[in-house]
Amino acid sequence: MTLPETTQLAGRRRARANGWAGNALRFLVIIVTTYLGLLAVTFFIGRVIPIDPVLAILGDRAPAHVVERTRELLGFNKPLYQQFYIYVRDALTGNFGTSVLTTNPVMADIRRVFPATLELATFGTIIGSLIGVPLGVLAAVKRGSIADQIVRVIGLVGYSVPIFWLALLSLLLFYARLKWVAFPGRIDIVYEYSFTPVTGLYLIDSAWQGQWDVFRDVFRHIILPASLLGYFSLAYISRMTRSFMLNELAQEYIVAARAKGLSESRIIWVHALRNAAVPLVTVIALSYAGLLEGSVLTETVFAWPGLGLYITNSLQNADMNAVLGGTIVIGSVFIAINILSDLLYRTLDPRTRAR
């Protein structure tokens, strides 16, 4: 190897290291600015929009000295930029203030209610993916047929239906009329005190402890809200699966696979779906994030004691700390899922790997 070649190689290697570091740095900048933006918006909502945040907390009948003391206590007499600095510092350590409604630190409340939402959204995404992906594949393979039309209509209705209304009607049908599912809530009051959750995910906890009667009860509670959220994400997942599959089925390697004499089902489910799965991961991750949001309305209808119900309850009681804390947590999960799905896409798709 001659000298110029080696230096060239070293140069290229350095460039690659720079590229990697540059990518990581850009990623970091994106994460930091997005999170700061999130905090800036919630700060704006909590401190700038209300004419006087102290009055918002105390009401307008509080005596002047109480107002002054509270203002000092909460640091609202400082200039805005200092307030923002304190706000960011507190938020980074997970301190979102105290909930007026429950008198607990907001973070403690959120930690208590979050597993319920997590369990619901996860179960919903599983249902949505398990049904949505095969439906999308079916629609793509039988393109233009009755099956394709039906899948399209299912998806369109899923996009167009108000989820809280569907939730109410399904409660009417499956709980009140057919008695297939349990009363709104997460667990029957009978088990409320005999069952000690560990992770907060009741399905896993009860199965882990071998309490199958509890498991059955929890399942009867979760199945309806999770199915509704699942339908919500199914609409999106099946539509995207269809378009990804159509894209793959038009490729030449499919023709080659057919020419080799592979069975049609193998071509569809192994060859085509495998390639369609790469962008699908992103779609499923995004719909998971969407379910966290969709749970706000669903939880209200099903009295599901999760983050959504916590936020709406706090809203009704003008408990801004709790509302903004919940917003920040959901926003953070959104950002995290976005970044994770991006990373996952990069590792799964060989074309986007750094050469």
Partner: protein, 310 residues
Amino acid sequence: MSEISHPAPMSRREWLMSDRPQSRLQARLGRAYMTWRRFSANRLAVAGLGIILLLILVAVFADALAPHSPVIGNLAGARLLPPGSEGYLLGTDDQGRDILSRLLHGSRLTLLVIVLVAIIAAPIGLLVGAVSGYAGGWVDAVLMRITDIFLAFPKLVLALAFVAAMGPGIQNAIIAIAITSWPPYARIARAETLTVRNSDYIAAVRLMGASPFRIVLRHVMPMCVSSLIVRVTLDMAGIILTAAGLGFLGLGAQPPLPEWGAMIAAGRRFILDQWWVATMPGIAILVVSLGFNLLGDGLRDALDPRESGQ
């Protein structure tokens, strides 16, 4: 003899489809005609258009169409009557108000929300996107970071927080929804701008001494409008659902306004025995947002065949 010098008279259709338009008007009408032909071939899209036109007509003529007052009910004689009762086609609610009349009047609120959100959010997105794409450099970087920050937000939750701070009411709900819906438009406008900013006609305009302001406003933004219209139409259903969700949580239009989401919330208490109170407004929401989705899909296929999922 003068007849010979004129070309053979064309049918109106041939005039529209001519590939050598004689005037700017003919070219424009011809393109609109082609788009309409592609659009009207899609029966579902036409159905969607029909639903939206019906919504507009109902909103305009709500006073004439509604058999009863939307806010004043008959508490003594007509509480919670089932659908099909004498004079009350869709039944009455707990205040003895005719549900059909409330739905007809509620279409005005729905229309108000979507029109105002579109009027506020689309120009913001268009401006941010076009400026960002045309300017490039640090302006682009900063504007797109801000856009991404808003995109990273869960829309409904952010709208909830905004309304919580500003106080419930239909104006605040509209503002909150508009604030949360402009970022995708900025993204689209930027992408469109990037495809035209290096084209020859922009260079020609620049050579003629047009200011960047004029270029963006007169020569870049019009190019973004068609894809923006498609996206706004597709988003309408989401806007309606968000507004209904806010109404359902009691943060949108306040009673006694006949907002469909709030009507569902009011009917929730009677769902077990008087199912129609909550069911009817939900059907209205479903039909209207279905209409917008069908229309949006059809428009996308007609205006931009590349983007369609076919």
